[in-house]
Assembly symmetry: C2
Homo-oligomer: 158 residues x 2
DNA sequence: TGTTAACCGTACTCACTCAGTCCGGATTGC
DNA sequence: GCAATCCGGACTGAGTGAGTACGGTTAACA
């Protein structure tokens, strides 16, 4: 499975939550609203603040505020902020030190078109496209509901 | 970083190597040619055989043989064979048991368009596109990579 | 000015996953 | 029968990431 870190998933949840209310929101408040552990929310917000996706306000009555509207935040930005540059293999980003020891690697640079395709796919989708309003079913999922994931176009890949 | 398992990387190398010669090839031979440890090559080939990408022939003078030409093998097939279904988050594939304990997750199903975009991107690229001779220069990633791929590294594998 | 509420930064631990290895068995050609 | 090769499973060590804890800093407010 192409793996995305859990923190990235959390980041999207947090950003969507931030956009749902005006003014600043505290990390405990977001944690309570989303069900994500509070220290984890704080961790995610801190990283996002470092990438200028949100801005922080310290002190009493402080909190976090979204810097841009959701439609202006491509998914690629969130993934890059949390996980670092989007690259499927170590060969593509800067950290190819390991590969240098294996100089006969015949795939050097071959993943570039794949990475480029994924990069452009992720850039073309904004967080607004992932908002509940566009797929109105899932925001309030009753606890007893049998877990029926929204039908995924990816099931064909199995 | 969007993570792809090393085995998938190896699988591409192995498949390209298989396509470069007629007849069956043994895993020790492929290991020697690619520099990948032999048990790992065997592991990759076994998985690929289970996905009908290659066929195996047991016994003396046995080995592995490519079932299709490279142009008929999309990258998505290789990734699916090695890593399982292409899905960025556990919510999308079947293994969402963990998510059931967190029923207020507002992102349920939201990753579907992202996964679909990546799936189509990966399906549109075949292994033949990753072969050394076929990469158009314009496809190279300009960003943040002082690491210029070695030209035609596949020769080293022959 | 002191208290309080919130962010900030770092370090730590635990658990999980994956790459790589090993071994015995089955199959096939000579 | 022997040798070469694939087959299948189990095991281990390393790496990584999620989550936690704690003390410090900043700013609003009474």
């Amino acid at each position: 499975m192409l793996r995305l870190s859990k923190l990235t998933d959390y980041a999207v949840v947090v950003l969507v939550r931030l956009s749902s209310m005006d003014g600043v929101q505290t990390s405990p408040g977001i944690a309570a609203a989303t069900g994500i552990p509070e220290p984890t929310v704080a961790k995610v917000l801190k990283i996002l603040a470092g990438s200028d996706l949100v801005s922080s306000q310290r002190g009493a009555r402080g909190g976090y505020r979204l810097n841009r509207v959701l439609a202006d935040i491509p998914v690629a930005d969130v993934i890059t902020a949390i996980d670092g540059p989007i690259a499927l293999t170590a060969c593509v980003d800067g950290s190819a030190s390991e590969c240098e020891s294996l100089c006969m690697c015949p795939m050097r640079g071959r993943w570039d078109p794949v990475n480029a395709a994924i990069q452009s796919a992720l850039t073309s989708i904004s967080l607004a496209d992932m908002q509940p309003s566009t797929i109105p079913l899932a925001f309030r999922m009753p606890a007893e509901a049998p877990h029926v994931p929204v039908q995924s176009p990816l099931r064909a890949a199995e």
